[in-house]
Amino acid sequence: MSAEEKMARGRVAIQTLQEYQKAKKTNDTVNLAEISKKFNPNTKEGEHFLNNYFKYFGYGYLNDPVELIPNVALTFYSFHIMVALGFIFVLLFIFILVYVWRDNIEKKKFLLYIGLWSILFGFIASQMGWIVAEVGRQPWIIQDLMPTIAAVTHLSVSTVQTTFVLFAIIFTTLLIAELRIMFNQIRKGPDNLKK
């Protein structure tokens, strides 16, 4: 079935729901009963409507088949980076485990450096995963039933931008504070070594 066909059927489903809401408001019991039959899965009519029209409810909110396609490149590369890092972690841990068993890991400086920087990889892998989940899901919040544009709160762009900027300022400031505290403590070294 083509995307246009799905979108047309989705629009029919949305229209039917709106008619139902209107009938409910005006207490139009005749129309109400008729439309309710369409949503009843036990009748033949209901089964047909649910499987052929209501199934594409969310498509009715979309205008262009292009909207159905998420950003493939971003999703693809993020996923591959994430999985690659996952395998690197496994490899890294095998090496570390081997040297810990052999009890000479303190001498493997190169490995220790990689171990330290791999902390960063952990964050990167995690963020890549989120990109896959949130970009790959577009345009759907609920697959086929609700696209993100229909679900998003009615806030102005400036509101969202302001919030983002506020978060950025606060968390950057706190990050600087955290790093300074940490580096100071690291420089001082552990207390029990002072003696």
Partner: protein, 379 residues
């Protein structure tokens, strides 16, 4: 077993849970209260460190209770969540930002090279104590006074002012509740410090502050209660589902559900008793004020929340379109969701038991100045 309950009963059960969380939250705000007192009671060391370490062991419990309250609202009454958090956006953002500042300020205050200096972090704590409590009070006030939102038939919410929630500060009833919470938090903090901290100077100063804050609290709280009881409330007709304005609605709730009215009165009496304990000549009760006032706070707020939800009351009125208002019946999740979550809610007593157990470990003895200087994990 929850399948046996009707949809209405499930909604009532979940509103009870919400009310319990709301009541716990207001009780936990003694942490915020303590933070707002640092410039009055904690002007010098060691009082300041004593205060912050005494309340600091519990700071996360106030923030987490707030989040659990929001989470429970999201799960049980998602329409409220989407309306208020998405609509009264800046009000909740304001609350959120002050709590973010609280969290780090405890941790960073005393560490070397903390970039902003101890005084700044203490000021953040004060900010959280001042603005966090008042804003939360204003937000809860809107449960009584209403918000500016409209729902269309797909339940999409539109907030009709550009202030996105901040306009609630312009309503005097909201402010009365906001300031009541602020001063109540301070009272609870003072009673808590008198119970937990062993320092003569702090004790004397606290006792003085108690009277002042208690007096102001009573003025604001009684004004709020009278304004609410004597004002218009929002009710819903259970058969037609039409929302209408009813005079003395909240007062009527207390009368029509007498156990609710009694609960409310018991709560208020306990709070007053708690405030009075340091002045009674009873040595045993002298420092136990926090128990009375704490329980009293919990019970009073519980009664207020239940008054909002039960008896066909509207718990979130719309000032723009009366029929968009929210009741516990039209804002809730589906029956299936509520049943499933009710099973999960059976875990809560275990969580509570663990929290109590953890607290007891921390509460072994009173705080003294020496204890802080010897501790590695002091704030």
């Amino acid at each position: 077993m929850f399948e046996q309950l009707s949809y209405n009963a499930l909604q009532g059960y979940w509103w009870l849970i919400i009310s319990v969380l709301g009541a716990s939250l207001v009780f936990m705000m003694f942490v915020q209260g303590g933070q707002s007192l640092i410039y009055s009671l904690g002007k010098k060391e060691p009082q300041l460190s004593l205060m912050l370490n005494a309340i600091g062991t519990r700071w996360d419990l106030s923030f987490t209770t707030l989040v659990v309250f929001g989470g429970a609202m999201f799960a049980a009454f998602p329409l409220f969540y989407s309306t208020s958090f998405g609509g009264a956006y800046w009000l909740w953002m304001l609350i959120l930002f002050t709590f973010i500042l609280q969290a780090v300020s405890y941790e960073f205050r005393n560490k070397a090279r903390n970039f902003l200096g101890a005084k700044t972090y203490e000021w953040f704590l004060f900010l959280n104590g001042l603005i966090g409590t008042i804003s939360l009070g204003v937000a809860v006030g809107t449960f009584f006074t209403g918000g500016n939102f409209v729902h269309n038939d797909m339940n999409f919410v539109s907030w009709t002012t550009n202030w996105h929630g901040l306009e609630a500060f312009a309503n005097i009833k909201n402010l009365l509740l906001g300031f009541s919470i602020f001063f109540l938090a301070r009272i609870l903090a003072i009673l808590f410090l008198m119970n937990r901290v062993d320092d003569e100077q702090l004790y004397v100063k606290s006792k003085k502050q108690l009277l002042i804050n208690a007096a102001v609290f009573l003025v604001f709280f009684l004004s709020f209660v009278f304004a609410i009881l004597l004002g218009n409330g929002y009710a819903v007709d259970p058969t037609t589902q039409l929302v209408y304005i009813e005079k003395y609605k909240y007062f009527n709730n207390f009368i029509e559900l007498p156990w609710l009215g009694i609960l409310f009165l018991i709560g208020v009496v306990l709070v007053l008793l708690g405030i009075a304990t340091p002045y009674l000549k009873n040595k045993k009760l002298e420092n136990k004020g926090i128990w009375f006032a704490g329980c009293g706070t919990f019970i009073t707020v519980l009664a207020l929340f239940l008054c909002l939800g039960y008896n066909n009351t509207v718990f979130y009125p719309s000032l723009v379109d009366l029929q968009s208002s929210l009741t516990i019946h039209n804002a809730s999740s589906s029956r299936y969701t509520l049943i499933v979550m009710s099973y999960v809610s059976l875990l809560v007593p275990f969580v509570a038991a663990y929290i109590i157990h953890a607290w007891r470990q921390l509460l072994k003895k009173k705080f003294t100045a020496d204890e802080i200087s010897e501790s590695d994990t002091a704030y």
